[in-house]
């Protein structure tokens, strides 16, 4: 596309940098580039960048990269000389939702947290509009169920998103809880739905939407108590897995890091840990055969269940209930076992 003040204005390269190249530019004319915006651009600053002479041409090299799909107006001598649109690569969608946790079929009414795992790094800024809870019976979105986080909670590589249900509606006694009620209702199934408009890190839609259905059970308000777990001790001298069954589903994210095993020498037992189905169990397959003698399943007291109750405290403590008192925890909690 060309204007009167320059014979040719086009996307190009200046060295290794993307640029807008102006050929045949009349001498002494200023060049300014602006993105086309939804609002009137009167008095708006020009795009940051520098003009580089390249032979007979002048190149505008931006300080910040051009954005795919964005149109730019190039003004020469104060008059619009060209409008160029940055092409948007048409790449097929390939990213998908790998898993939605909890994987249990039923969650407590006071469910606090959901994890979404994606197959590739994702873009921030889409969670509020592309993740929702949906009433299974009516297919209507459950407005206000999810905490409208100012900052989305991603893992460092943006493949796992943590979604919190609104704690103001879960914590007892708050006006929000009394006025709006729990986000979930016992006996009324719901879906966690991720629609395909969620963008991956390359700006592509998801290959398909994903959802997981849950039944809603009773509230869970007890502290997580490793003393209630069932430990199936493996046979000594073998590499049989250690199996631990819980009294309730535990938080998938925390479960994966809060349990480990130490051997008779007090050193960690290396191996492959894995949460079991529905996060109701955990197993450790050792790298070496089990040594004889006493072992310990070591529990980090921050380990929580699906309702945010941890080993050290309940999510919202009823001050009148002695059983709700925080557990005095010094470092870790351990369950002893001995290979058979």
């Amino acid at each position: 596309m060309s204007g009167a003040a320059a014979a040719s204005i086009a996307w190009s390269q200046c060295g290794a940098a993307d640029c807008i190249r102006l050929s045949g530019l009349a001498p002494g004319l200023g060049v300014e580039v602006r993105p086309q915006l939804e609002v009137a651009a009167g008095g708006f600053p020009a795009m940051a960048g520098r003009l580089v002479r390249d032979g007979d041409d002048v190149c505008f090299v931006p300080r910040f990269p051009f954005v795919d799909g964005t149109s730019y107006t190039i003004a020469v001598g104060g008059a619009t000389a060209a409008v160029l649109t940055r092409p948007r690569p048409q790449q097929p969608a390939s990213t998908e939702v790998l898993a939605i946790y909890p994987s249990a079929a039923e969650v407590p009414r006071n469910l606090l947290r959901v994890y979404l795992w994606f197959s590739a790094p994702m873009s921030q800024g889409y969670a509020a509009t592309h993740v929702q809870l949906v009433d299974a019976a009516s297919s209507e979105p459950m407005t206000g169920a999810v905490l409208p986080a100012g900052s989305e909670l991603w893992s460092a590589d943006r493949r796992r998103l943590t979604v919190l249900l609104d704690p103001a509606r879960i914590k007892r006694g708050l006006t929000a809880q009394l006025q709006a009620g729990y986000p979930l209702r016992r006996g009324e199934p719901f879906l966690v739905v991720v629609d395909d408009g969620f963008r991956d890190a390359l700006g592509r839609r998801l290959r398909s939407a994903a959802e997981r259905r849950y039944a809603v059970g009773a509230d869970e308000r007890r502290r997580v108590d490793p003393g209630t777990w069932t430990v199936f001790a493996p046979s000594g001298g073998t590499r049989e897995p250690l199996e631990v069954e819980f009294d309730r589903p535990l938080d998938h994210g925390l479960l994966t890091r809060c349990l480990h095993v130490t051997g008779p020498d007090g050193l960690p037992v290396a191996g492959g840990p894995a949460p079991g189905p529905g996060e109701r169990s955990w197993r450790l397959t050792p790298g070496q055969p089990w040594a004889p003698g006493g072992h310990r399943l070591v529990v980090d007291p921050v380990l929580e269940d699906l309702a945010g109750n941890s080993v050290s405290r309940v999510f919202d403590r009823d001050l009148a209930r002695p059983a709700d008192r925080p557990r005095p925890v010094c470092g870790v909690v351990a369950v002893a076992f001995c290979p058979r």
Binding site: A201, G253, G308
Partner: protein
Amino acid sequence: MSEYGLRPGSADVQSAGPITFGPAGILFLADNGSATVFAVDVADPGRSAGPEPFDLADVDARIGSYLGCAASDVDIRDMAVHPVSHSVYLSVQRGHGDAGQAVLVRIGVPDGAVTDVPLGQVPVAQTAIGDAPGEDDQRQDVTLPSGDQGEEVTYGGRTIRILRRPIRTSTVTDMAYVDGDPGTLLVAGLSNEEFSSRLRRIPFPFGADVTGNSLEIFHVSHGKWETAAPIRTFVPYDHGASILASYTCTPVVHFPLAGLAAGSKVVGRTVAELGSMNQPLDMVSFVDEGEEYLLVANSSHGLIRIACRDIDGQAPLTTPREPVGVPRETKDLQGITRLANLNGGYVLALQVNGDGRRHLRSLKTASL
């Protein structure tokens, strides 16, 4: 800046987070990508400014024009005002995904000129956030990086490059600096795993270890239920002796800052609730005719003004019914997402209109 431990270097911010000014024009920037707080000498070029108001329409579109992107690609994550020049600093994330980058934007006062603040080859210091993934957290996501990031590993005779990254992260929700000797940077955060209420006190100049100096701030709802929930936003007042904090679950809680031992359990006093379907967004303190006030921006109601003396006189809430708690005035000022002191006579607000356009607007403190 060497007296504050700043040395030439780069603040390589991956994900724009909260910002706040410290001593001598040093700006603290939280990077929610690397769980790091940077202290940067922003070398503000402005002169000492006066008491005039400052307004700027379509601030996001202006920034987009300068950064070469649509207004929808400009995510303004926090705002701070330089204490001398009153230049407005905005923590901006430009774009999304792999194309996203953190930019520190400066808006000149009074001319409204938009520039970006260099973060490379500047005086800088940094500290890791205390509850970032521990060394004993073995869980790592393994991905295939682009370029020369990561490390080389060999599987079955084939060598590939992989990148290991922790799964657990901590997102800074708010920061504030309290002057002293040494000064203290207060940092509130939100874990992507456990539900906790940790407020870190980081001495400045930064030292080696900040992990032990954190507080768990519990709060009690109506005398019956006690929770440790993440702090969404907070503001020190009374020369840093007190903190007013608002939580993701919306109670507004007071607690003293002075004299709190590290690692101790602190139970704050709930003095108000923001109500249902409402989220705290930002707070600021200001003084008018010798009286200190706090402003609370929130997602559903107008701007809330609270007198500090009323907080001190407010008994803990015992009845879950609104309106209760500390006396407050709700101003007919909707859509305010960020607040900062402009010059004593005015508070600067970032306000989003019903059509989604964002403006900077000065609010006269005497009229609030």
